[in-house]
């Protein structure tokens, strides 16, 4: 019995020695996010416009129904999204939109510090998603 007591004490003492802490001092030190981390979305731009062709696959597959797309035609006769909004308050960051996209026009970044003060600020419009 006493041997077990000593064992337990030695384990906790070992952890006390410097270099055993696993804490990251968060706002000062930040961990490198994995490439596959699912953070804030980003619309990928091409030469003069966004890659998106407004095919409506992402709002269809979205389980949280947080993506709003309205398509239109530009002067070259190409389909493009006139409105593309992601409601982050509804988004569950599942990444299905990225999987569904046939032209790889939407991707997820490593940004995770998404807190804000107004509900309206969580509506990510096309302009904000293109950044």
């Amino acid at each position: 019995m006493f041997l077990e007591f000593a064992k337990g004490l030695s384990i906790t003492f070992k952890h006390l020695l410097p270099g055993h802490s696993t804490t990251v001092q968060y706002p000062k030190v930040k961990l490198q996010m994995s490439d596959r981390f699912r953070g804030l979305h980003r619309l990928v731009p091409s030469q003069d416009r966004e890659k998106c062709v407004a095919c409506y696959l992402c709002p269809t597959v979205c389980p949280a129904k947080c993506i709003t797309v309205e398509s239109a035609e530009n002067e070259k006769g190409e389909k493009y999204p006139k409105i593309y909004t992601i409601d982050l308050l509804r988004c569950i960051f599942c990444g299905y939109c990225v999987e569904a996209c046939p032209v790889e026009a939407i991707e997820m970044t490593g940004a995770y510090e998404l807190a804000d003060y107004n509900r309206d600020d969580f509506q990510f419009t096309k302009q904000r998603l293109l950044k």
Partner: protein
């Protein structure tokens, strides 16, 4: 001219002045230790759980106790509607005051020779010092029971009842383990107990002091464990038991009244360490009778030993889970008490044979 002991009769003015200085010093140091024990505990437990503990307030969280105190001051002071008001207000004081008052008999150095007077480095040298300590640590439980009962809440009441049962079972074994010390020292005055411990070990080994831990290792273990149970520290923190009783007897308390309970817990920890050090580890005397060690002032050794014991208590808290209630009672009545009685018996036999 022979220096004489400073007392109220030979020089009342100086006596009162010196006494005030001693009181302020001892009280200040105790409060400081109590405040920083919280920081120290959070740091040590944090690191033992591979965390860092407080880091933000000041350098490595050094200002944390002050921040905590300020926060508790600004909290709403709530008294439950159904509580019995007077005992509810009285209970925090009844825990804290006995804890702080016990420090008065702990000697913290040799007599100072100033002018024609000898000034003892101890607030008061009672010839029944140990009895006084036991009386006041025993009083502490009234605060817990009153707090539990007057809050008029089930969790608090259960905490209070547990504290009573625990105190009764462990006070006995603690008292009995100390009796073996008196058999050796033949005095109850802490000052003399410390001076006896400065002699050579069993009159043979000249550089090791005659600490009672060497002659009474069993009594030391018993006293330390029962001490832990008496001050409600983990693994015997049944009266508070966060996971079972919310917060036990202090569930209904808030603001500074809660802070008083908190302070009392750490004050108790300091006091029990100081008592153990004085009774078993030679008090303020140096660990080896070597000139380099004995040159260091007594209070440094006392504080060093107290801090070492407090570290051990915190270390225990980080390591062991809380014992179950029936295990606690089993340990108290069926293990500690017989062992303490046996220790008294053996010590008595040895003392008689050696005479």
């Amino acid at each position: 001219m022979m220096p004489e002991m400073l007392s109220l009769s030979n020089s009342p003015g100086i006596f009162v002045g010196v006494m005030l200085v001693k009181l302020l010093a001892v009280f200040g140091v105790t409060i400081f230790i109590v405040a920083y024990a919280t920081w120290w505990e959070r740091k040590i437990i944090g690191h033992m759980q591979t965390r860092l503990g407080p880091m933000r307030t000041g350098w490595h969280g050094l200002l944390q106790p002050i921040a905590d105190g300020l926060k508790l001051f600004f909290k709403e002071d709530l008294i439950p509607d159904q509580a019995s008001k007077v005992p509810f207000l009285l209970a925090p004081l009844m825990i804290l005051i006995p804890a702080l008052i016990t420090v008065a008999v702990i000697p913290f150095g040799p007599d100072l020779h100033i002018g024609n007077f000898l000034i003892p480095q101890q607030i008061t040298d009672l010839n029944i010092g140990v009895l006084y300590i036991f009386a006041f640590t025993g009083l502490g439980v009234y605060g817990i029971v009153l707090a539990g009962w007057s809050s008029n809440s089930k969790y608090s009441l259960l905490g209070g009842i547990r504290a009573t049962a625990q105190m009764i079972s462990y006070e006995l074994a603690a008292g009995l383990s100390i009796i073996a010390i008196f058999m050796l020292s033949e005095t109850l005055s802490l000052r003399e107990i410390v001076s006896l411990q400065q002699q050579d070990l069993w009159g043979v080994c000249s550089f090791v002091p005659n600490w009672y831990i060497f002659s009474q290792p069993l009594a030391f273990c018993l006293f330390f464990i029962t001490g832990l149970a008496e001050i409600n520290r983990t693994p015997f923190d049944m009266p508070e038991a966060e996971s079972e009783l919310v917060s036990g007897f202090c569930t209904e308390y808030s603001s500074m009244k809660y802070a008083l309970f908190f302070m009392a817990e750490y004050a108790n920890m300091t006091v029990i360490s100081a008592i153990t050090v004085t009774l078993f580890l030679g008090g303020w005397s140096a660990p080896l009778n070597i000139a380099i060690f004995t040159m260091v002032p007594g209070f440094v050794w006392l504080l060093a030993k107290v801090f070492a014991l407090m570290f051990f208590i915190i270390w225990l808290r980080a390591t062991f889970p809380r014992v179950r209630y029936d295990q606690l009672m089993f340990l108290g009545w069926k293990v500690m008490l017989p062992l303490a009685l046996l220790n008294v018996l053996i010590t008595g036999l040895v003392v008689v044979i050696l005479q």
